[in-house]
């Protein structure tokens, strides 16, 4: 095993720095986005005959609806259509895992964002005015607001969909070994409760898009979304039309992070478009987005962890409750991923039992959010390790070193996993961080401290779920190398990564490549989530590029008269003997384009030997070192520095890799320090960005991202998707640093400065 604290032995460690960034961006055309010329979902105002839609939301968190009267609204100026539940021709339900969410509620509303009706009008203001003229009679029902009590309260959903007609949507337990026996042999046992918040995605562009009827009963959707193909299937069922009649083109989107995984405005817009025969745009304003949109599952967990006198972890137990809100969305998958991470995948533990219950409440709706249950679990697990170390009187790093898995080990669920570097090397590199040697002063206003945590993240949907995707490469009539995938662009630099990969593999230049994403009539690449896009794209391109290049070379030889052997791809066209002999445009104009196209589809990599795959095969690691400063007078916490050591395969596009880690880390910092959409009786207490506070420029720390890459040259899966990795360990790293600075360990996020101050004051008394 690689010895620690010795920089020379930690091989292949590279810091992503400014030079690497600037070199990679030099060929990319980013001017369009910077100058505001890229059309987002809600920029499509030029459509002729465009109407504006608005959705009526529930006034109650939980109620029966006894009457919905749209007659007054229909008579209002500018109104072209008003629709409600009985206007849904097909299935009045949607949802990725369970279709339990109504397009329009007919009998019952279960959260204050539930949709009841929708209006299409000439202007957005007229649509809003008409909403005010829709009369709804509510009979309020008791609100299920406490997730820990939800199972004892009347069920929010039909008993067919839940466990025995209660609010328990799903429960799951993962176990291994003899837990009681293992606990009996522990020298130190620590037990604590941890709580993580209902975080909001707060993408800068809110939900929105356009539905355009095609005049033949079908609809084209252009909206901000994450899975065009999957959405098209659901929309066809809602509209009551054949699948081929629905087309989705996912537009460039101003951020998603999981919050646009489910359908948002598309059902209402599509129904209004069919009803009026006109294109309809719906764009939620921020108030409505806060109230109705997806959130992260808040989790309350009790963890009990024990080790022997030598620091070996023997026993680990977790009991978690996840509040999924009013509808299932991806809750069951989040539960699974939570538990997967709760088994402490990086560490060897002799026996464990981690169980979780996913419950319905009237507290909004929770679904996919970067990290997907994993980072909530890692917060608790890493905090437990620090407590164990303290109980044993050893350094937190030492406890980790004793228990970290080795590269050849199976994963925590006995599954085959594939790392890109030994966990011990990741730890060693993190311990070498210059942040540890910053001076900590005891006097002065700010109390500083450095702490760290580790985390793992898998790529892919996992657990043997169908997980495949395809792509296509061709030469366009205009002479561009056209690459098509079904994933969406919501700003994750996937376009640049694809361009970079193609340029490297083909030898062309950036401007020769055109990337087309998110068309439901194009290749189906599966959902843009679960950090799966990069792996999938890389795998598909690796498979089709060679034969595509052969086909193109063949045609180029015929057209140019040069022998195939000497023809090479280059910037702008085909080269022979160092000279360009044919531009891509000329080649496109004079040859059969169909023969210069190649497609492929692949299954997302899963462990080769297993029958039923468990967890995820491709694994990534991160160690985050955090430095904080805590205000002695007020308990306010600032994160001044974050240093991440990542083991996530090869870097294709350095700015993309760096940006994903940095962005995810600041999102995790928000979750740790200021972000929580709290509810009171099912009603959100914040409804805009003046009340829900995300980190500003001045809150963001200085960050350093190191890449530790031991991937062999011939590894079949050299790249990983780093979209979620950066959020994994940042919260426990921050609370570890706060403990070093103040002596107080926070177990409830976001850190409440008032509570922290009270603890700090108590510590002062004890001195």
């Amino acid at each position: 095993m690689t010895p620690e604290n010795s920089q020379g032995d930690v091989r292949n460690l590279v810091t992503l720095d400014g030079d690497a960034i600037r070199k990679a961006t030099s060929g990319m055309d980013l001017a369009q986005r910077i100058e505001g010329r890229l059309a987002y979902a809600t920029d499509q105002r030029h459509l002729s005959g465009l109407l504006y839609g608005a959705i009526l939301r529930s006034a109650c968190a939980h109620a029966l609806i006894t009457r919905v009267d749209i007659s007054r609204a229909l008579a209002m100026p500018g109104v072209h259509a008003v629709i409600k539940a009985d206007d849904v021709p097909g299935l009045n339900r949607f949802g990725i895992v369970i279709r339990d969410q109504p397009v329009f509620c007919d009998e019952r509303v279960r959260y204050e964002g539930d949709a009841i009706a929708a209006v299409a009008a000439d202007t957005p203001e007229q649509a809003r005015d008409a909403l005010n003229a829709i009369d709804v009679d509510y009979q309020p029902l008791p609100v299920v607001s406490d997730a820990t009590l939800a199972e004892q309260q009347p069920a929010l959903h039909d008993s067919r969909e839940t466990h025995g007609g209660s609010n328990l949507l799903a429960r799951e337990t993962l176990e291994r070994g003899d837990l009681d026996d293992a606990f009996s042999r522990c020298a130190v046992i620590v037990e604590h409760h941890y709580q993580t918040p209902r975080q909001m995605h707060a993408f800068m562009e809110t939900e929105g898009g356009v539905a355009i009827p095609d005049g033949k009963g079908g609809v084209l959707f252009r909206a901000g979304c994450q899975s065009g193909h999957r959405d098209a299937e659901q929309l066809a069922d809602i509209l009551g039309v054949a699948r081929e009649q629905v087309t989705v083109e996912s537009t460039a989107t101003g951020g998603a992070f999981g919050g646009k995984d489910e359908l948002t405005v598309q059902p209402a817009a599509g129904l209004l478009a069919l009803k009026t025969g006109r294109p309809v745009m719906i764009h939620l304003d921020r108030f409505e987005s806060c109230r109705t949109g997806m959130k992260r599952h808040p989790v309350a967990v009790k963890m009990t962890t024990g080790c022997d006198a030598g620091g070996r972890m023997l026993a680990h137990k977790a009991e978690a409750i996840l509040d999924t809100g009013a509808y299932a969305s991806l809750g069951p998958a989040v539960l699974e991923n939570y538990l997967d991470h709760a088994t402490a995948p990086l560490y060897r533990i002799e026996a464990y039992r981690v169980s979780g219950r996913l419950v319905y409440t009237n507290n909004g709706v929770c679904g996919a959010f970067r990290g997907f249950g994993g980072n909530q679990a890692t917060f608790a697990v890493e905090s437990q390790l620090d407590e164990l170390a303290r109980g044993l009187g050893i350094e937190p790093a030492t406890l980790r070193r004793i228990n970290l898995r080795s590269p050849g080990d199976a994963g925590s669920r006995n599954q085959t996993v594939r790392w890109t570097a030994p966990p011990a090397c990741v730890l060693a590199a993190a311990l070498d961080s210059p942040l540890w040697s910053r001076p900590d002063t005891d006097t002065g206003r700010w109390m500083t401290g450095t702490g760290m945590a580790m985390g793992a993240q898998g790529n892919g949907l996992g657990d043997g779920l169908p997980d495949s995707g395809g792509g296509r490469i061709s030469l366009s009539p205009a002479g561009r190398i056209c690459v098509e995938f079904g994933i969406s662009d919501y700003g994750q630099n996937i376009v640049e990564s694809i361009i970079r990969f193609v340029c490297k593999g083909v030898g062309c230049r950036e401007t020769d490549v055109e990337v087309v994403l998110g068309r439901s009539r194009g290749p189906d690449s599966g959902p843009t989530s679960a950090s799966r896009s990069t792996v999938l794209v890389h795998g598909v391109l690796a498979s089709i590029l060679p034969r595509w290049m052969d086909a193109v070379r063949g045609h180029a030889a015929r057209v140019s008269g040069h022998p195939v052997k000497g023809l090479e791809f280059g910037p702008g066209g085909m080269f022979f003997d160092g000279q360009q002999v044919l531009s891509y445009g000329e080649l496109a104009g004079s040859a059969n384009l169909d023969e210069m196209a190649a497609s492929a589809s692949q299954n997302f990599p899963v462990a080769p030997d297993s029958g039923q795959p468990v967890g995820r095969y491709l694994q990534l690691q991160i160690a985050t070192v955090a430095r904080v400063a805590v205000d002695r007078l007020t308990g306010r916490v600032r994160v001044t520095d974050l240093h991440h050591v990542t083991a996530a395969g090869r870097v294709i596009y350095p700015p993309g890799y760096l940006g994903q880690i940095e962005g995810a880390a600041v999102m995790g910092q928000g979750m740790a320090l200021t972000e929580d959409m709290t509810t009171h009786d099912g009603c959100y207490q914040a409804d805009n960005l003046d009340q829900y506070l995300i980190p500003t420029f001045h809150d963001a720390p200085v960050q350093r991202v190191d890449v530790l890459d031991d991937t062999p040259e011939d590894d079949p899966y050299p790249v990983r998707g780093v979209g979620e990795l950066g959020i994994e360990a940042v919260a426990p790293a921050i609370t570890a640093a706060i403990e070093v600075a103040t002596g107080v360990r926070v177990r409830r996020l976001p850190v409440d400065p008032g509570d922290l101050l009270v603890e700090m004051a108590a510590q002062e008394q004890n001195l």
Binding site: F287, R632, L633, T634, H698, G754
Partner: protein, 274 residues
């Protein structure tokens, strides 16, 4: 500010009245019970949130004499109510009289909002400037139904006839005073206020004021104790401060603890060279 008028409407239907003079403005405001609009940085978010707009707004004109700008007068520094927060921060007289104000204003709203938001608007919304204004015994000059008058800010905030228009605020000549100003927010910048604390020492006595999640106010009891008995054991001071804050509507004991500590620190800062 809730529309005092019973009539509410939506944004497109609001009628923006443009009075030609301050007295005309006051007349319109009183007759139609319409709120004033200066920068609108407080009014607009409030109305966007509730989706209720007043049927009329009375637009204020920063070109009216004495409504905008900063000048030295016999009574002290006069600051027009329609002076923007950015103008206040960057004015040379601010640097001369209240150099600490710059550091505070940087943490009030964001730079864009500071180009629109005004001193008067901030004070009337109980914003961050309130604490300093109260601690300095600021006077206000108000245009009312019967003409203009000058009175202490603290009195005007308590008993403000509807429709009276704030023209300017006057702070005493505080050059050389010890002034400690601090805002506690939730994040580094652009944050709602948890508490803003102002400690002022004019060479003779200390004046303390707070604003934020509790009501804005002067800590007169604490001041009296300091004046009469000097700085005593911090624990005695803490009890007095804590109960005075609670009386002012600061119900969160953990926030009171933070405010106490900020006050202690501010006190030490302004009395250090006294």
């Amino acid at each position: 500010m809730e529309p005092v008028n019973n009539e509410v409407t939506e944004r497109q239907a609001v009628r923006v009245m443009r009075p030609e003079s301050p007295r005309q403005a006051v007349s319109f405001a009183k007759r139609f019970r319409a709120p004033y609009m200066a920068g609108g940085t407080w009014l607009q978010p409030s109305c966007e949130r509730s989706r209720q707009w007043p049927a009329q707004l009375v637009a204020l004109n920063p070109d009216w004499p004495e409504f905008r700008g900063i000048q030295e007068t016999e009574a002290g520094l006069s600051i027009g109510a329609l002076t923007t927060l950015d103008e206040l921060a960057s004015h040379p007289l601010t640097e001369l009289y209240l150099p600490q104000l710059n550091g505070l204003i940087k943490r009030v709203a964001g730079p864009g909002v500071r180009h629109l938001g005004t001193v008067g608007g901030n004070l009337l919304a109980g914003g961050d400037l309130s604490a300093l204004a109260l601690a300095l015994d600021t006077d206000v000059t108000v245009v009312g139904g019967k003409g203009s008058n000058r009175q202490p800010l603290v009195r005007w905030l308590q008993d403000r006839p509807a429709g009276d228009l704030l023209r300017s605020v006057t702070v005493p000549d505080c050059r050389g005073w010890g002034v400690s100003l601090e805002k506690l927010g939730y994040r580094e910048r652009f944050s709602p206020t948890r508490a803003t604390v102002a400690c002022v020492h004019d060479g003779y006595q200390v004046q303390l004021a707070v604003c934020g999640e509790g009501r804005p106010g002067r800590l007169m009891v604490t001041e009296a104790m300091l004046r009469d008995e000097g700085i005593r054991e911090l624990t005695d001071l803490e009890i007095v401060v804590d109960s005075e804050l609670e009386t002012l509507g600061w119900h969160d004991p953990r926030l009171r603890l933070a405010v106490r500590r900020m006050l202690e620190s501010g006190l030490m800062e302004v009395t250090r060279d006294a």
